[in-house]
């Protein structure tokens, strides 16, 4: 999977079909053909999965939840205890006097206000570098407070789906790109930051810091929609903030790396993933190379790393291996 096609996929294009034999690298070709010849595969898979289930790990999820709690907790404590660590909220803040601005909020404000604001530029560049280093959509799964609520709603959705009470009404991923353009256009055209009025990230963040308000009704509506209709509807198909950070993460050094060799192609990773199209590569015969970096839409949440029974999905920092 080339970088370009992974970018197209982020904007909503359907993932590529299974590639034909000519485009594999020699190593990948060899592994694919070796896998065809393995005997007693079923038993082996069952054994490996049983072992995984014996010591099921939630290492990355736990770290990530801790990160969301710490980031948002610092905002809350900073104001409630008046210790001025991080002043502000998710949309814009100041850490020890240094400006930080959410990239999407800054974009909306700039489009609506039509002026370049120097503090906003400082804040934006700082945040841009930070999230580029950390992986772009890493923001979503490691900092966004709505992501955590949505994860819990997703668990309820999956339980209900298991009981056949709800069905995941999947949507077209191109919707997010359309909404992105519409909201940018609305901000520019009307002079109001239209998206900010319904941004669940801003609403939840402000509710945590400054106390709850009526705006939380909108967040509850979204969560209910995700529980009863579409799994992770907002984060998967709608949120422009996710797309902004996705674009930032296109060339990020931090990513999840897939290794073809030991993969059993069972697809457990795709079951838990927020953005399963980035894991298409794990389907049998899809990987063109022995190692593949997942696309920019990946939120680096690590659920696939936790669930993979063979360790074929791992966090990786580009260039770090060469240095060490």
């Amino acid at each position: 999977m080339s970088l370009l096609s992974s970018i197209y996929e982020m904007f909503g294009k359907a993932p590529n079909k299974k590639p034909d034999d000519s485009c594999y690298t020699e190593g990948a070709c060899k592994i694919h053909s070796e896998k065809r010849d393995i005997k007693g595969k079923k038993e082996r898979v069952a054994a490996i999965k049983a072992e995984r289930d014996m010591n099921r790990s939630h290492k990355w999820r736990n770290r990530r939840w801790a990160s969301i709690f710490i980031v948002n907790g610092l905002f809350v404590l900073s104001f409630s205890l008046d210790i001025q660590l991080i002043e502000g909220s998710m949309s814009a803040s100041r850490v020890f006097g240094f400006h930080l601005a959410d990239l999407n909020a800054a974009l909306q404000v700039t489009l609506a206000f039509k002026e370049i604001l120097i503090n906003l530029v400082i804040g934006t560049v700082t945040v841009l570098i930070l999230w580029w280093l950390l992986g772009g959509r890493t923001f979503c799964s490691w900092a966004c407070p709505y992501h955590l609520l949505a994860e819990w709603a997703e668990e309820i959705h999956l339980k209900l789906a298991e009981m056949k009470m709800v069905r995941d009404m999947a949507m077209h991923r191109g919707l997010r790109t359309v909404l992105y353009i519409l909201f940018a256009g609305l901000a520019f055209g009307t002079g109001y930051t239209v998206f900010e009025a319904i941004s669940p990230v801003g609403i939840v963040s402000r509710a945590l810091i400054y106390g709850p308000g009526l705006a939380l009704i909108w967040v509850v509506v979204l969560l209910m929609f995700e529980v009863f209709f579409t799994r992770r509807a907002w984060c998967r198909y709608m949120c422009p903030i996710g797309l902004t950070y996705g674009i930032v993460g296109i060339t990020s050094p931090v990513h999840v790396r897939y290794e073809l060799e030991n993969c059993l192609h069972e697809g457990d990773c795709r079951q838990v993933c927020l953005v399963p199209h980035v894991l298409e590569v794990t389907k049998k015969g899809f990987a063109l190379k022995e190692q593949v970096a997942l696309g920019p839409d990946c939120t680096r949440c690590g659920l696939c790393v936790d669930i993979c029974p063979t360790g074929s999905l791992q966090f990786d920092v580009k260039g770090l291996n060469k240095l060490l």
Partner: protein
């Protein structure tokens, strides 16, 4: 010879897969319309001016203010009297934008240096405002002259807003640095002059005698062009509803 039965050109019936895809696209369009629609609802409160708000010191013109404000609440955090609060859902695009409910807690410039302006990361509170005298939030107006105690020639004794009023004010003669509850500061005045007495801007309000008769105490609060519209007079006014209020967003140029 009978004609062969005419058959309408056969339309291929869609496959299950195509039907599913079609539903998926329609569902996405529906959801998209829903989200955009919900966002556009924010226009109503703004355009219809359901709630005109007193914006914090340094706020630029209302429409531009809503555009420039990034809704982070940093101004809320620095205010020593916690005068600034954030707008809620019923304010449309004012969700998360700061305002001051002067009657509940006015800005009394306890911070001395327009801290909220300094905190604003976007210039929605304009950095052209350096000192309190440059602020233009609105203009005080004696809206109920008949209720005004000074106009009636009455004095005032007790706490200005009752003993359980939570509002804060910095009384320089009590504590130069820390605002205290208004409920902790009772008055005993022969003629009520609370609006003039507690006004943080020099010469913005004076009680002017109605006539030269020294036995007649009656006077009228007169607002001068130095008034910045901070709302301190509205908060401290002991009659309820207040006799003096802030005309939000009013500018002296327009008067």
């Amino acid at each position: 010879m009978a004609d062969a039965p005419k058959t309408a050109p056969k339309r291929k019936s869609p496959t299950v897969r195509q039907l599913r895809e079609r539903r998926r696209v329609l569902r996405s369009i529906g959801a998209g319309v829903g989200v955009i629609g919900a966002a556009l609802l924010g226009f109503f409160p703004v355009v219809k001016k359901w709630a005109e708000r007193l914006r914090p010191p340094g706020a630029i013109e209302e429409q531009e203010f809503l555009a420039a404000c990034i809704k982070c609440g940093q101004c809320v955090q620095v205010c020593p009297v916690e005068a600034i609060v954030l707008g809620d859902l019923d304010e449309g695009y004012g969700v998360g934008a700061p305002y001051i409910d002067a009657r509940k807690q006015a800005c009394d410039f306890s911070c001395d240096a327009v801290q909220c302006v300094l905190a604003c990361p976007t210039g929605a509170l304009s950095h052209d405002t350096d000192v309190k005298e440059q602020v233009t939030m609105g203009i005080a107006r004696l809206s109920r002259p008949k209720a005004c105690l000074a106009r009636l020639g009455q004095g005032f004794k007790g706490t200005a807003r009752g003993d359980d009023f939570l509002g804060l004010h910095r009384y320089i003669e009590v504590d130069r640095w820390t605002p205290i509850p208004i409920a902790d500061h009772p008055y005993d005045l022969d003629l009520c002059d609370l609006c003039e007495r507690e006004c943080p801007i020099e010469g913005a309000i004076t009680i002017e005698r109605n006539n030269f008769d020294l036995t007649d105490l009656r006077g009228t609060p007169v607002v001068f062009e130095t008034c910045v519209g901070c709302g301190m007079c509205e908060m401290i006014c002991p009659v309820d509803p207040p006799a003096i209020v802030i005309e939000k967003n009013a500018r002296w140029e327009d008067v």
